[in-house]
């Protein structure tokens, strides 16, 4: 039995020192520019001949266009992004998916590879079987196929060569800010520590035991019988807590930073990684190691 009640005066400040000067922060209503000739972009509004910020964030200037990038926002999808999402609704020929965006994303029945893999017409039978494939609460990994006019996303789970989209099995989901995920060539990683990880661009991170590449393609059946061994579980939990430590200190998440954090966390037990001081230490050490790399 262990518990700790700490006082607010002992609260840990998670900010990690960095040699880069912090960018200028704009708060809503702050004047960005009083000169004319600028174009107002997202996150700004015009008042009294000046451009003001409508959200808290940093300014981004592209030629004449002034945009405020919010520090904290919901996920703004881009075509080609890898996302992890949860099915919230089964509708006519489509599923609704929660991807942490303003609107639920759609996954059409024709955008998935149905079991069997062969090309076939999406028939009435398929429509009636939809709940058998994916039902409310199921987690999927998918790619953004299109952005609709209302800003909602269309997803697809047609797998390519070695990337496997589709239903996710046993494992755990972590939610972080979408802005913390570094955009990379691949968002699927089999880490050397012995766990597999999907870094969704929408800030949903999926940790699971290493997926065997030989498994049946486009699987909609999930093995619930086999328990994940304790050793693998410990690796996954450590990974989860390391990622949470990095996220608390707002360090970008990608395979290298996660691997570094995992290695740094080795000197602590898994439970200790819940302590704010330990989390900060892991984050600082990781940041240091990342800076050495540059």
């Amino acid at each position: 039995m262990a518990h700790s009640i700490r006082l607010a005066s002992e609260r840990v400040d998670f900010s990690v020192p960095s040699d880069k000067a912090p960018p200028q922060l704009f708060t809503p209503g702050m004047v960005i520019s009083q000169e004319s000739g600028f174009m107002r972009g997202h996150g700004t509004y015009g008042e009294d001949d000046s451009i003001k910020a409508s959200v808290a964030g940093i300014v981004d200037r592209v030629n004449k266009l002034v945009v405020i990038k919010p520090l904290k926002s919901r996920y703004n999808g881009e075509i080609g992004d890898v996302v992890v999402g949860r099915i919230t609704e089964v509708q006519q020929k489509r599923w609704k998916v929660d991807t942490n965006a303003r609107l639920d994303a759609t996954l059409f029945l024709y955008s998935v590879n149905l079991p069997g893999g062969e090309l076939r017409r999406r028939s009435v039978e398929d429509e009636q079987m939809m709940r058998k494939y994916l039902t409310e609460g199921d987690l999927i990994s998918a790619e953004v196929q299109n952005i609709n006019s209302d800003g909602s996303l269309s997803l697809h789970t047609r797998s390519l060569k070695n990337i496997k989209y589709g239903k996710l099995g046993q494992g755990m989901l972590i939610k972080v800010f979408p802005s913390l995920i570094k955009r990379q060539k691949t968002h699927f990683h089999n880490l050397p520590c012995g766990a597999s990880i999907i870094l969704g661009n929408n800030g949903f991170i999926w940790i699971s035991p290493v997926i065997n590449a030989e498994e049946e393609h486009g699987g909609f059946t999930i093995n619930l019988e086999d328990a994940v061994p304790k050793s693998v579980r410990e690796v996954m939990v450590r990974l989860r807590n390391s990622i949470n430590a990095l996220a608390a200190s707002k360090i970008l998440l990608f395979d290298t930073s996660i691997q570094y954090a995992y290695d740094q966390s080795k000197k602590y037990s898994v439970v200790e990684l819940l302590n704010p001081e330990v989390m900060l230490d892991v984050a600082v050490m990781t940041q240091h190691q990342l800076q050495m790399l540059e």
């Binding site: 039995m1 262990a2 518990h3 700790s4 009640i5 700490r6 006082l7 607010a8 005066s9 609260r11 400040d13 949860r86 919230t88 039902t135 409310e136 609460g137 199921d138 987690l139 996710l168 099995g169 046993q170 494992g171 755990m172 989901l173 999930i222 619930l224 328990a227 994940v228 304790k230 579980r233 410990e234 939990v237 450590r238 989860r240 807590n241 037990s269 898994v270 439970v271 990684l273 819940l274 302590n275 704010p276």
Partner: protein, 288 residues
């Protein structure tokens, strides 16, 4: 309770984790998540506390008011709980969504708090007494409401300062009270008889303390036990539709009792430590 959507595979993963005594965040079955406590965060209340248990955020304020005692308890004060589920916590609380949960929590809290002696709150028997309004605000949901709320309530009551009544005059049928003008002239409640609640959630064949919201979804039944400093129990409540075997129930209550005593003592240590910082200590509240 505000439940999260999980699929079967995730539930299985949590279930197996509890079985091998390694939960999804690395804790063992009997571990709590780190908590953070601050008292006297609301300057306009007679007493207040804020407790954060991982993602569960609770703010408690205590208000004092003069009232007439209940005719059945003419020599006792009054204690009333009110829970407000903020829609900030989860959209499910919007409108009247959180009302059921709020009523459930407040009625169970008042049951558990029957052990607290209310006689010191009486000013003039049958005529006047202090009434304490305990307002509980749920700001964020991360599971394990009962434990977090009970700790926050106890801390807020510890922090409560009841004004000193310097004189009372019976004028015909009504009472005139003279309350001290000095805001620092006040007395404090004895909270040794205030319970903390310990929740044990049954997941599979085992019980875990301090369940996360995800774990609560996997649990079929939870036992909430109200424990005093001394180890006496003031209430045992079962939540959820599942059943608990007689033997399991007895064992669960014993475990909860042990945990409750330890939790009580850590809470008192934390409160005394904060007290020792003096009245001029810095208030952090929600910023920093």
């Amino acid at each position: 309770m505000a439940s999260v959507l999980l699929n079967d595979a995730e539930k299985t993963f949590i279930l197996h984790g509890v079985e091998v005594d390694l939960r999804c965040d690395g804790r063992r079955r009997g571990d709590y998540r780190p908590m953070e406590l601050e008292t006297d965060v609301v300057s306009t209340a007679s007493g207040s506390a804020r407790l954060r248990l991982a993602n569960t955020d609770i703010l408690v304020g205590v208000k004092t008011e003069i009232d007439v005692p209940y005719p059945e308890n003419p020599e006792e004060g009054k204690l009333e709980f009110f829970v407000d589920c903020s829609a900030n916590a989860t959209p499910a609380f919007e409108g009247r969504g959180g009302e059921d949960l709020a009523n459930e929590i407040s009625s169970r809290l008042s049951r558990a708090y029957q052990s607290l002696p209310l006689a010191p709150l009486c000013i003039v028997p049958k005529q006047a007494c202090w009434k304490l309004y305990v307002d509980i605000l749920i700001l964020e949901c991360g599971g394990n409401f009962y434990d977090a709320i009970s700790l926050a309530v106890k801390a807020a009551l510890f922090n409560t300062r009841v004004p000193q009544v310097t004189g009372s005059f019976l004028d015909g049928g009504s009472v005139d009270l003279e309350v001290s003008d000095d805001p620092f002239q006040c007395w404090r409640l004895d909270i040794t008889k205030a319970p903390v609640l310990v929740t044990l959630s049954k997941i599979g064949d085992n019980c875990v303390v301090d369940p996360t919201a995800e774990e609560e979804t996997c649990s079929v039944a939870s036992i909430v036990v109200a424990v005093l400093d001394s180890g006496s129990l003031t209430a045992v409540i079962k939540i959820g539709e599942g059943s608990v075997h007689e033997q399991t129930l007895i064992e669960t209550i014993k475990t909860a009792q042990k945990i409750g005593v330890e939790l009580n003592s850590s809470l008192m240590t934390a409160l005394n430590q904060e007290e020792s910082l003096g009245p001029k200590r810095q208030r952090f509240g929600f910023l920093k």
